[in-house]
């Protein structure tokens, strides 16, 4: 049985808590994420997705309730060392991570994390090489300044800088924002490979297509609360809930709902839809 990687127990987080500007980020959120799963977090702008993952990453402490990440627990009373413990085992690719590049060369930037952890030079060199290969970073640009790269290449370098730490949990906040479709597909492929290798992946996204095709779990946030957690199929079948939270099911699902007889498993990608329609049409021809 899969182990639990992350557990939230009635977790709430309030920004500027205790001041007149207090504003609620999330409220009373309870869920578990199994180890090695690929979870997508969706929801409208301002629904609390980033607040939620900041808690998973150990960057903020819950104002109420308890967060447990890989067996380390975090409450309002926890100290900085406990937060640092969680931060070390989680990798976090922020939105537009290329804004965090700072070193003179791509290589040095990727090596920043491992050097902070005090790994041996041999290990650092090996891991940096592996991480850059993992993201398919062009080999002839390892020694270039990050500022001379294209936006997409910067993104890859930044992601390599997170992967190099070999996190057991990898969080990505809208990793494909601003990438062309080819680059997005390659990035998702990489995430799939990491998922295969056993990394727990948590991805915030606005693309329901990606959720349908890659995630095995989906969490829907709405108004600071968890509205749904479960399999994407289940969510897509619940048209009412989706509409209420202003998310549209992916095209394949919408078409499937219109074209396929009720009760069939909804297709999660256009490929799947085409196959299902083809079988249906062929069966129809034979009937005539």
């Amino acid at each position: 049985m899969a182990q639990t990687a992350i557990e939230f127990n009635s977790v709430g987080y309030t920004y500027h808590s205790g001041t007149s500007l207090a504003s609620s980020g999330i409220r009373d959120v309870t869920f578990t994420i199994p180890s090695g799963s690929f979870t997508a977090i969706i929801g409208q702008t301002g629904s609390g997705k980033s607040t939620l993952v900041n808690l998973i990453a150990g960057l903020s402490k819950p104002t109420t309730g308890e967060v447990t990440v890989l067996g380390q627990s975090l409450t309002k009373q926890s100290n900085k060392a406990q937060q640092a413990g969680i931060q070390q085992s989680v990798g976090y690719v922020f939105q537009f991570p290329e804004h965090q590049l700072f070193a003179n060369t791509v290589w040095d930037d990727v090596a920043f994390g491992p050097r902070n952890l005090g790994w041996s030079t041999a290990k650092i060199n090996q891991q940096v090489q592996t991480a850059l290969e993992q993201v398919n970073f062009p080999t002839n640009r390892y020694q270039q300044s990050p500022l001379e790269l294209s936006g997409g290449q910067q993104r890859l370098a930044a992601i390599a800088g997170v992967l190099v730490m070999q996190p057991q949990i990898l969080i990505l906040d809208e990793p494909t924002a601003g990438l062309d479709s080819g680059a997005s597909q390659r990035l998702l492929l990489l995430l799939n490979q990491l998922h295969q290798a056993g990394v727990t992946i948590i991805m915030i996204t606005h693309h329901l297509e990606y959720v349908a095709e890659h995630a095995d779990r989906v969490m829907l946030m709405g108004d600071g609360q968890l509205q749904f957690a479960g399999h994407p199929q289940e969510l897509f079948r619940n048209a009412e809930l989706m509409k209420h939270n202003h998310v549209l099911p992916p095209a394949a699902v919408q078409l499937g709902q219109q074209l396929l007889p009720p009760g069939t498993n909804l297709p999660l990608s256009l490929n799947e839809l085409a196959k299902k329609l083809a079988t249906q049409l062929k069966a129809g021809e034979q009937d005539e």
Partner: protein, 268 residues
């Protein structure tokens, strides 16, 4: 990720002070700061402090927020005050060692210095917390309009000021995010000696500078695309309006000053 609580940030509330004309508030703040330099005695400093408390009360902003405004300056204040104590002479000497001495005058001077620091910072916080930055810049350019006749580019200065103020919260938000990102890559700020800590500055400030340059470039392009011409005569969408309560506020300032002068002359 928008509203960082930082020194100088506008706090949208509905208070009597928020309703005042930005020009009135700017004038009052400058006036008050000048008045502070004329207060040495218990009575006068107390009088001005009382006025500040009234302003804080009228702003409806919790005192806690003002404390947050002063907190970043605490070390500067303490160090300046310490220098003042140790290196000024006069009056009774309590202790001395080489050039350094603690004298009664030194103590008094440093107390006045601390008082001025705190009062001035708080007064400017009252101004910036109750006035949207754009209005502040508008007030600034409106009050300095006479300077245009001696060819001082008041409008450009006001624009620079409003852009600078506008980007303070943006840059603070970005800085927090960059710090978070580097933390996730194993950087610990509060560890190591001075040198190690200085090393931590680069991974934060380099991305911050790069971002700021990008912002300014984008802003310049966007302004040009919308037909902004530097120095062209401009109208304002939101007009500043001087109302009755603004005049009352100015009268109160006059009363405050008269009070100050009376206390200075008769109770010293």
């Amino acid at each position: 990720m928008n509203s960082q609580l930082v020194f100088g940030a506008y706090i949208p509330l509905a208070s009597p002070l928020h309703r005042l004309d930005a020009r009135a508030k700017l004038l009052m703040c400058v006036w008050y700061v000048i008045a502070v330099f004329f207060a040495y005695t218990w009575w006068t400093t107390g009088w001005l402090f009382l006025a500040l408390l009234a302003a804080i009360y009228l702003s409806r902003i919790p005192v806690k927020m003002y404390w947050r405004g002063i907190r970043p300056f605490v070390w500067v204040i303490i160090i300046t005050a310490a220098f003042q104590v140790l290196f000024s002479s006069g009056g009774q000497t309590y202790w001395h060692w080489g050039w350094m001495s603690i004298t009664s005058d030194g103590l008094v001077n440093s107390l006045i210095l601390i008082y001025r620091f705190i009062v001035i910072i708080t007064a400017s916080t009252v101004l910036t917390a109750t006035t949207p930055t754009l209005q502040l810049a508008q007030a600034f350019s409106s009050l300095l309009t006479p300077l245009k006749y001696i060819h001082i580019p008041v409008d450009k200065m006001a624009l620079m000021l409003s852009i600078a103020l506008r980007f303070v919260p943006t840059i603070m938000t970005e800085m927090h995010q960059i710090i978070d990102a580097q933390k996730m890559r194993g950087m610990h700020f509060n560890q190591g000696g001075l040198l190690a800590r200085l090393h931590h500055v680069l991974p934060i400030f380099i991305p911050l500078f790069v971002d700021s340059f990008q912002h300014s470039e984008e802003l310049a392009v966007a302004m040009e695309a919308r037909g902004y011409v530097a120095g062209a005569p401009r109208t304002q969408f939101r007009q500043l309006r001087w109302k009755g309560h603004d005049t009352i506020a100015m009268v109160l300032m006059v009363a405050l000053t008269v009070g100050l002068v009376l206390l200075r002359t008769y109770l010293s």
